[in-house]
């Protein structure tokens, strides 16, 4: 049972709900009910306005938990909760990790980081019971998060095990022959290529396939986070990688499912656990196709925004950040209060098509 389900069960008895400091009404809003539906219920019970309540929402079939998908995605193959805090294959046991990632010190004190990345076709479950014929890096969407420190040498052996030409195109400083975008950069099926460059500048970047047709190659799932840390390390924090993505399941040029890290509504059922007072740093990347803009809004909180993460100073304090396709940002905040904090795209459509979830803040 997820935290959220537990909480729902707890709220069945009033004593518990008081102890947790959450009213039933508060939970209804937390559960993703739009204020409009709650508003109609209230309106029609107000005698002066009852006549205006033209909505059909009568108490007969009123179900406060009606929004959202039915069922759960099988997370044994890909778990977004694990993905959040994994980079350089840190989620794998050491022996297995060695196969995909090795690091070694260099003369100047920096490191050489070597990766094994392969492109492969794979069907993935993106919403409960909805399967998408993805093109993936290492069998997962988003691809593995690569993380280096400014000045490190990055060497990636890329093998195309897929059925179409693919590449890895990195956002960051690199010479043109490492760009993975031109005709001569295409890695055909069963071929491989070694990308090598210095990790620069520091910030939150991304990599994605740059084969044509671009829209298809990207939205089928060929993208991942590329984080470059400054030489002088950032303050230690609980760090989270979030890629805002979408899936056009019927290939009509419009997304049917939106999420952070692929699985619709995942963090509704598995809220992201954070500690009160601890610095939380989110590396947010927008890889949504078809819609020019995506956004992130966090309830009851504000965060410092570090656009593209390339400067040490925050340029804004906000509770909503808007990002174009391919845009990235670092968000930093500290949770003050215990309980559930919803976060979602402030495009309500995206939110209701899967891009919404919860943080749950607990005493440290």
């Amino acid at each position: 049972m997820s935290d959220f389900d537990e909480l729902k069960a707890d709220l069945g008895s009033n004593g518990n709900s008081r102890k947790r400091g959450i009213s039933r009404r508060g939970l209804l809003q937390a559960a993703g009910l739009t204020s409009a539906t709650a508003g109609v219920a209230t309106l029609s019970s107000h005698p002066a306005l009852a006549g205006q309540g033209k909505g059909s929402l009568m108490t007969e079939h009123f179900d406060p938990h009606a929004m959202g998908a039915v069922g759960r995605v099988d997370t044994s193959v890909f778990d977004p909760t694990v993905f959040l805090r994994s980079w350089n294959f840190s989620h794998l046991p050491d022996a297995e990790r060695q196969r995909f990632y090795r690091e070694s010190p260099q003369a100047d004190g920096s490191r050489l980081r070597e990766y094994e990345i392969f492109a492969v076709d794979r069907e993935i479950e993106i919403a409960p019971g909805v399967f998408f014929p993805a093109w993936s890096y290492n069998g997962q969407v988003p691809g593995p998060t690569l993380r280096a420190t400014e000045g490190d040498r990055v060497r990636i052996r890329f093998v195309n095990q897929g059925t179409h030409p693919h590449t890895m195109h990195f956002h960051g400083w690199h010479p043109p022959e490492m760009d993975g975008s031109l005709m001569e950069h295409q890695v055909l099926p069963d071929q491989e290529f070694i990308y090598e460059f210095d990790a620069e500048p520091f910030g939150v970047h991304l990599y994605h396939c740059h084969s044509v047709p671009l829209k298809r190659h990207i939205h089928k799932g060929l993208y991942g986070a590329f984080i470059v840390d400054p030489k002088e390390a950032r303050e230690s924090a609980d760090e989270l990688v979030m890629l805002m993505n979408g899936f056009d399941t019927n290939f009509d040029g419009d997304n049917e499912v939106y999420a952070i890290n692929t699985v619709a509504f995942h963090h509704i059922h598995a809220p992201i656990k954070v500690k009160i007072g601890e610095l939380v740093r989110m590396y947010v990347i927008n890889v949504t196709e078809f819609d020019p803009v995506n956004s992130l809004h966090l309830h009851g909180m504000f965060f410092d925004v570090f656009r593209t993460g390339t400067r040490r100073e925050s340029y804004e304090t906000a509770d909503t950040v808007m990002m174009c396709q391919g845009e990235r940002t670092i968000l930093e905040t500290r949770f003050r209060y215990p309980g559930l904090f919803m976060f979602h795209a402030h495009q309500s459509e995206f939110a209701e098509l899967g891009w919404m979830g919860f943080f749950t803040a607990v005493e440290g």
Binding site: V70, P128, G129, V130, F131
Partner: protein, 391 residues
Amino acid sequence: MGSKSALRTWLLALLPLVLLAALLVAIVKLDPASALGGDAPPVEELEFERVVLEPGRILLTVINDGPDPVHIAQVMVDEAYWQFTQEQAGELAHLDRARLVVPYPWVEGEAHEVVLVTATGMTFAHEIAVALETPRPSGQAFLLFALIGIYVGVLPVTLGLLWYPLIRNLGRSGLDFVLSLTVALLVFLFVDTAEDALEAAGALAESFQGVTLFSVVAILAYLGIEALGKRLETGKGALSAAWVTALLVAIGIGLHNFGEGLAIGAAFSLGELTLGTLLILGFTLHNTTEGLAIVSPLAKERVSLGRLAWLGFIAGAPTIAGAWVGGFVYSPVWSVVFLAIGAGAIAQVVVQITRGTAGDRRLGELITSRSVFLGLLAGFGVMYLTGMLVG
């Protein structure tokens, strides 16, 4: 034919069937289709058959119209994933139906869109153009639909019957005029019914082969009415030819009106129709001519008021039944069937009246006569103009 040769006939009839059965078994066992690309992605087809709006929820009946099984994974309403329950959860095989209940706070008078997302990510959309609560079979709703039926069917037809005394006093050319007017309006009704039927056929799941279904049922209805007419003329207690014609016209129009009631009831309950004054006015004008059509063959008969009322009942009352069926248990397949019966019946009646009017005259002579031509013209004109009112 002796019993031995009868057995032989049966064997000869059954032999190909037995071989066919063996062939079917072989096809299933050997699966020759797999050699022709068994890896092809599934062909998914879902058709919405019925959408019912209740306070705070939407009930959907969908049918799998494709060859491959379909698994409904999620339901989207107005671009939001929504909770739903499926009666008898699981995959739908070819022609399986699923009933889905979606608790959704729909808004009266506004548009909504329901989208079903299958396991492969295919989507099937249905637009609710104007959200209105679907009438449930309550006493009040029954009364409402009965009222619609009375306005649209019973009253106009009964009014039209009052032309009977006029018909009695008409001379030959006057009668020709009225009868050809009747033929014209019946042809108009035939086209009207066929159009409705073909429209319903188009909305049908492809597996039900709407247009073929319509054609076959219409032809059978034509032959059925033809046979009924022969029976009434020759059987025990035989009726006069004029009476038979009048009765068949009443039956044909009754069947048409059942289809009309069906369409009105369905449209009304789907929120596609509001019964305004203009519409009632239109139907009344439009359908009054139907009464005239029934009495026009009776010029040389003495008819009691009671019998006249019966004819009116046969022609008009089915509208009420149609409205009930259409409003409460609308089914696209049965709509096509009923409309096809109406069309076939009317076609037969057109032929019946033409025969009666012609008498011993040749058809060529008949249609060139002035009164017949003017009658046809007047019939089409009246139907076309009053038809504009009911759109």
